[in-house]
């Protein structure tokens, strides 16, 4: 039941995002250009991602390591 709810939520989210896009001009991007709005990990998080990839079975889809490069998975 929870799985169906999650799938339905994801589908609704993707559909609502796909239809919600508006053209944003350069002068309207002051909020989006804030350093903390970047769609990326913070530099200070780098070593947190490393230890998580050592201690947990999953990795990847976070612009970090997906395996290899160290004695981790």
């Amino acid at each position: 039941m929870i799985k169906y709810f999650l799938k339905l939520s994801m589908i609704l989210l993707v559909c609502s995002l796909a239809t919600a896009c508006v053209q944003v001009r350069e002068y309207q991007k002051n909020k989006l250009n804030d350093a903390e709005m970047a769609l990326a990990n913070r530099k200070v998080e780098k070593n947190e991602l490393n230890f998580q990839s050592y201690r947990e079975g999953a990795s990847g889809a976070n612009a970090g390591k997906t395996g290899g490069g160290c004695g981790c998975n």
Partner: protein
């Protein structure tokens, strides 16, 4: 003492690099570091070429410490006490060449020093070394055509530690949509690693001894050789432990989209294939008969993680940074990761960011705890990385980025400090504190 010295030495070296921001200041009037001298300062399109200059220097240091009682070295029981001091420096060079291509060269160097209490028990007597170092340089070049919204780049990476060596290379590119609201990115990466076959002491096979002249060569069945040579009363000892390869190939894909002036999202997916020696040779497994052996895992693994990020600027003071990942692989692990961070802007240049991360995974098919594996199992591990567990990670960070520099130091344009506490349902507990300094 050594750790404090290395950190202080790295910081002092950084301070002597004399990097300068591109700001109007009477004091800052030195010529920027310059290797490449363009023939012309302009092209027919009106765009100007710019010489190579050091644009940014980033320094990240972390201290990590953990405790637990399920070490893989001792078969899923025993101390997991670990400390790790990590220091990394990144130098970012930029230049604009003919054809309006903005080029970025990112050179990095990292150095880790760790201690691991369980490592002592590779030798059953507990006499093995408990510390080690890792050094990992990297180099990445990216060329961006800002007019077309495309970029292309190459990267390389090396990591070296006593029991593990790695070489990696990647090729990456990105493409913006016509209205510049969306961007597609792809990265293809390969790691070519070597695992040193250090076995627990009780599994080092019986040696054969051959003496020729004054030299004695001892060869174990695993290929470990020791050369003992005597001459003039002195003795030389040289050990050569063989390696086994591990390869990782991955394709990483992303698509980011601006939804409105306050919201942007990103979809991520990786396809990862690994082959070779995927376990570690000093991990023990105890069968239900009480007899121990070395961890054995399949020689291939396929991983599929997919993720989603959404960042939303709420009002004028709050940012909501959300992340979700679903992961599955052919070893039987399925996991969910959810992360929420809410930076609160106390002022435009100072923010406090509490965060919480939930992680849950099912166990791999090949995992069983201490003395639970049957001798008939084809594959076996008691490494709790592959166990079923949930974890919680929470903490907070602060970020300072005043326009006149941190503490009035113009070159130090950004400072971040972050602390996190991590708890697994396996009993593993860890803490990590990190410092990031950005210089221009």
């Amino acid at each position: 003492m050594k750790k404090i010295f290395l950190t202080a030495a790295g910081f002092a070296m950084l301070c002597r690099l004399n990097t300068y921001a591109q700001i109007a200041s009477a004091k800052i009037n030195k010529k920027a570091f310059n290797i490449y001298q363009p023939i012309s300062n302009g092209d027919s399109t009106g765009y100007q070429t710019k010489p190579l200059r050091l644009d940014e220097v980033n320094l990240v240091s972390s201290y990590y410490w953990q405790d637990g009682n399920h070490s893989a070295v001792t078969g899923g029981i025993g101390t997991e006490h670990v400390t790790d001091l990590s220091n990394g420096i990144n130098l970012k060079f930029v230049w604009t060449g003919p054809g309006q291509h903005k080029n970025t060269l990112d050179a990095g160097l990292g150095f880790d020093n760790h201690t691991s209490a369980s490592q002592a028990f590779i030798n059953k007597s507990g006499a093995s070394r408990t510390d080690g170092n890792r050094i990992y340089p990297s180099l990445d070049w990216t060329s961006e055509n800002e007019k077309k919204g495309t970029s292309f780049g190459l990267g390389s990476y090396v990591s070296s530690e006593y029991n593990y060596n790695s070489f990696g290379a990647d090729l990456h590119f990105s493409l913006k949509t016509a209205n510049k609201m969306g961007e597609f990115g792809a990265k293809f990466q390969g790691y070519f690693d070597q695992v040193r076959l250090i076995y627990p002491s009780e599994f080092i096979p019986t040696s054969t001894i051959v003496t020729t002249g004054g030299t004695t060569v001892i060869t174990t069945a695993s290929g470990r050789t020791s050369t003992l040579s005597s001459g003039g009363g002195s003795e030389n000892r040289k050990e050569n432990i063989p390696f086994s390869p591990r390869h990782t190939y991955s394709g990483s894909f992303s698509y980011s989209q601006i939804i409105n002036p306050r919201l942007q999202v990103m979809f991520l997916a990786d396809l990862v294939k690994q082959d070779g020696y995927l376990g570690l040779p000093f991990h023990r497994v105890y069968f239900n008969t009480g007899k121990d052996t070395i961890e054995r895992l399949p020689s291939t693994r396929f991983k599929l993680p997919v993720g989603f990020r959404a960042n939303y600027f709420l009002g004028d003071s709050f940012i909501i940074r959300a992340y979700y990942r679903y992961y599955t692989d052919d070893w039987g692990i399925h996991s969910n990761t959810a992360n929420l961070e809410i930076p609160i802007k106390i002022s435009p240049f100072f923010s406090v960011a509490p965060f919480y991360r939930y992680y849950g995974q099912t166990a791999a098919k090949y995992f069983a705890p201490y003395e639970a594996h049957a001798t008939t199992d084809a594959y076996y591990t008691s490494n709790y990385e592959y166990a079923q567990f949930n974890s919680n990670f929470f903490g907070a960070g602060i970020r300072l980025a005043p326009p006149k520099g941190v503490l009035g130091w113009q070159n130090l344009h950004e400072l971040e400090v972050r602390y996190g506490h991590y708890q697994q349902t396996t009993g593993l507990v860890s803490n990590v504190i990190s410092l990031s300094l950005g210089f221009k």
